[in-house]
């Protein structure tokens, strides 16, 4: 933990974090805007400060989660580890909405897989059959009728 703190201090001494270590200011700004009244304004510096705070947040939570994984001899940090870490550092209010979000995501992934399977089955059951009569050299000349499916 102390190593991370020292690393963080060095970043700040150097000054501006590189852009790829920050979430895009447009996205961050949009979420901030959604939170304040419509006529409120947010300074660019406030958005920049928020960008840095979020990156710090991600780093802090991730290092807690990865320490847990190390203790349990696991190599991969997963969604549940992140949820655990958030509670461990005091963000327990986030646990319920996050677990719901994760569940929805997992359901959506399941639906997506199922939809692909259903799509393939439909293609097998209802192939479109049609034949052309007359010349096919130009789309104007071609006549085609669609044979109703069985």
């Amino acid at each position: 933990m102390s190593e991370n703190i020292i690393g963080a201090l060095n970043d700040h001494d150097v000054g501006i974090k590189e852009q790829d270590q920050l979430l895009p200011i447009a996205n961050v700004g949009r979420i901030m805007k959604q939170t304040v009244p419509q006529r409120a304004k947010i300074s660019k510096e406030a958005k920049e400060t928020m960008q840095e705070c979020v990156s710090e947040f991600i780093g802090f939570v991730t290092s807690e989660a990865s320490q847990k994984c190390r203790k349990e001899r696991r190599k991969t940090v997963n969604g549940d580890d992140i949820c655990w870490a958030l509670t461990a550092i005091g963000f327990d209010d986030y646990e319920v909405p996050l677990k719901l979000y994760l569940r929805k995501f997992r359901e959506l992934e399941g639906e997506k897989a199922a939809a692909n399977q259903t799509k393939d089955k439909e293609d097998e059951r209802y192939p479109l059959k049609f034949s052309f009569t007359g010349s096919t050299s130009s789309s104007k000349g071609a006549n085609f009728k669609i044979k109703p499916f069985d």
Partner: protein, 113 residues
């Protein structure tokens, strides 16, 4: 009945990588996670997804608290000093204290050992 519209957004990169239904870019989140330490080597596909929501909640909470400071000062523009004040006033945001200070504070490292 096939609903291509519902799924094609996801298939073309909503959840799989780009912003899509998430408000924050997953690839960037993953990059920031990896930079947090040598020990962080492997990250599951779900972790950036969870973080995209957690970061959204975090931004909303810090923004709300900052806005309260702005209102107390009878202003309509939320500035970075308001964010700093909100951080100072909230125990939960202790880890951000050094980040928002104008001049870096002397670190008392003994409390972390």
């Amino acid at each position: 009945m096939r609903q291509a519209g519902t799924y094609s957004g996801i298939l073309s990169g909503g959840i799989s990588g780009k912003t899509g239904p998430h408000l924050l870019p997953l690839a960037r989140i993953k990059k920031i996670m990896k930079k947090s330490g040598e020990a962080v080597k492997m990250i599951s596909g779900e972790s950036p997804i969870v973080f995209s929501k957690a970061c959204e909640l975090f931004i909303k909470e810090l923004t709300q608290r900052s806005w309260m400071v702005t209102m107390q000062s009878k202003r309509r523009t939320l500035n970075k000093e308001d964010v700093a004040s909100a951080v100072m006033a909230t125990d939960l945001f202790d880890f951000l204290v050094n980040l928002v200070s104008e001049s870096p504070l002397e670190m008392d490292t003994s409390k972390y050992s």
